[in-house]
């Protein structure tokens, strides 16, 4: 968050955000889903959560030491999101390996939270699915979806996720689902997607950061989710969310660049 988001002085002055506060706010927002997943899956989930946390924080500490920075805890959010996405049946060493890959290649090699281009949790989940035969991601339950909502409100209120992205993705998902199955499938699609939408697709680092770009980014992410789902031939799945979010976030800088170019050209025509 430190890079792209907190770079603007305006943002800092208006909201008083510091990197540590952003991490804290996101962790608070994640407390609901994490708590529900612990209650649902029991003691196994504690082991999953601890493994992901230890792996992520160990790498962050190592990078902080190498780069001569004071120790930080920014990878906590990636670990929490990842722990909810993986099913408890996955062996712990695979979770540790995937979490390590995600935070190192998705975040730390770029210079830390906020300097990367993808969501570290999505990178970790993608690594897990690609690497191990039989490994799949868990479908988030209705309870997790409900528990996501207060956190989503908090993040929206703090300006850490964009309502434009969420509205745009949700509109695409609902439109495609309406065309595909009619009204009956709508609640199901939204409950399974809401956690991924809030914490992967709308991730402030991974998503577009211009106002019009956010609409385009959401549109792209929504279409990709539906495309991957149709290819997989199933209802909306967590893997589709993860890969759509990864792919869409690769396009986010381009979308922002084009948005700025269009605005500059239009202003040039008006004032020039």
């Amino acid at each position: 968050m430190t890079g792209r988001l907190l770079d603007s002085h305006l943002m800092q002055q208006r909201r008083g955000w510091t990197p540590a506060r952003v991490t804290l706010a996101q962790s608070i927002a994640l407390a609901g889903p994490v708590g529900v997943s612990l209650a649902e899956r029991g003691a196994v989930q504690i082991a999953v959560l601890m493994t992901a946390l230890v792996a992520c924080l160990a790498w962050e500490l190592a990078f902080d030491l190498i780069r001569g920075r004071s120790p930080s805890l920014h990878t906590v959010t990636a670990a929490l999101i990842f722990a909810i996405l993986v099913p408890a049946t996955v062996p712990l060493w695979q979770i540790a390996l995937a979490a390590s890959f995600g935070v190192v290649f998705g975040e730390l090699v770029f210079g830390g939270r906020g300097y990367g281009i993808v969501s570290a949790a999505a990178a970790a989940a993608g690594f897990l699915v690609f690497s191990f035969t039989g490994a799949s991601l868990s479908v988030t339950s209705e309870a997790v979806a409900l528990a996501t909502l207060p956190g989503a409100v908090l993040l929206l209120w703090g300006g850490l996720i964009s309502w434009r992205v969420l509205a745009s993705v949700a509109a695409v998902l609902m439109a495609v689902e309406l065309a595909r199955q009619g009204l009956s499938g709508l609640p199901m699609v939204l409950t399974t997607a809401v956690f991924g939408l809030v914490f992967l697709v709308a991730d402030p680092v991974a998503s577009a950061s211009t106002q019009w770009g956010r609409w385009v980014y959401g549109l792209l992410a929504g279409l990709l989710i539906m495309l991957f789902d149709t290819l997989a031939g199933s209802a909306i799945g967590p893997a589709a969310l993860v890969f759509a979010s990864l792919l869409a976030s690769l396009f986010a800088p381009l979308i922002d660049h084009l948005t700025v170019a269009v605005i500059v050209r239009r202003r040039g025509r008006v004032h020039g």
Binding site: T2, G3, L6, D7, H9, F105, S131, T133
Partner: protein, 217 residues
């Protein structure tokens, strides 16, 4: 510049892949197993030596305006011979490498050495330079190929070294290692490693986030 320098410097100090970032395409494509990586390395090293020698021998007779066409023609002739040789004597391997032997023609490294070195140096240094760069390329290819085959299948050269879970052992192959992205990650890590060992290879960043760097806690 001694012959020894031409031979040794491309291995680490001026490696074609990790410093010049040339020949990446084949480094990604043929490194799923060690045996294809070795064959590709040998083929490319031979092409580099021969094309360096031939082009250097002809360098005073090549008109500058059409030199690229002539260089490509020479490289293509050598590559066709090698491709035919492989199809005749090692057909299985030739099938596994498929189009990538033929694509040595377009390998940036071959044309790069021809243009940068063989065009303006005598025959012997040109051949040695080709050999050195071929070995530097091979070194990286072998490391990437060995890592990808071992981590992806649990064996080397098709011989299982550890028993995989599927066969009742403990080793869980990393499926990602057999896919192209893993070659990017391994190459990236190698470039990183080399630049840690040789800090003078680190490039200056084009942009700096000045305000953000200052404000970091």
């Amino acid at each position: 510049m001694s012959l020894k320098h031409h031979l040794i410097s491309p291995l680490l100090g001026n490696n074609p892949i990790t410093l010049q970032i040339l020949g990446i395409c084949s480094a990604l494509a043929v490194t799923t197993t060690l045996s294809t990586a070795i064959t590709m390395s040998v083929a490319l090293t031979v092409v580099l030596c021969l094309s360096g020698g031939v082009i250097s021998l002809m360098r005073h007779h090549i008109p500058p305006s059409i030199r690229l066409i002539i260089q490509i023609t020479i490289v293509a002739s050598i590559v066709i011979v090698i491709d035919q040789f492989m199809q005749a004597f090692m057909f299985e391997m030739s099938k596994r490498l498929s189009i990538f032997v033929g694509l040595i023609v377009t390998n940036c490294l071959v044309l790069g050495r021809a243009e940068a070195f063989a065009m303006r140096n005598p025959v012997l240094p040109s051949v040695v330079d080709g050999l050195g760069n071929g070995l530097g390329y091979s070194l990286i290819l072998l490391i990437v190929g060995a890592l990808r085959e071992f981590l992806g299948t649990g064996g080397l050269m098709g011989v299982p070294l550890v028993t995989t879970v599927a066969e009742g052992g403990w080793f869980e192959p990393l499926g990602l290692m057999q896919l192209a992205p893993s070659a990017f990650f391994i190459l990236g890590l190698l470039v990183w490693l080399v630049r840690v060992l040789r800090p003078e290879q680190v490039e200056q960043p084009e942009f700096r986030l000045k305000a953000a760097e200052d404000r970091r806690p």
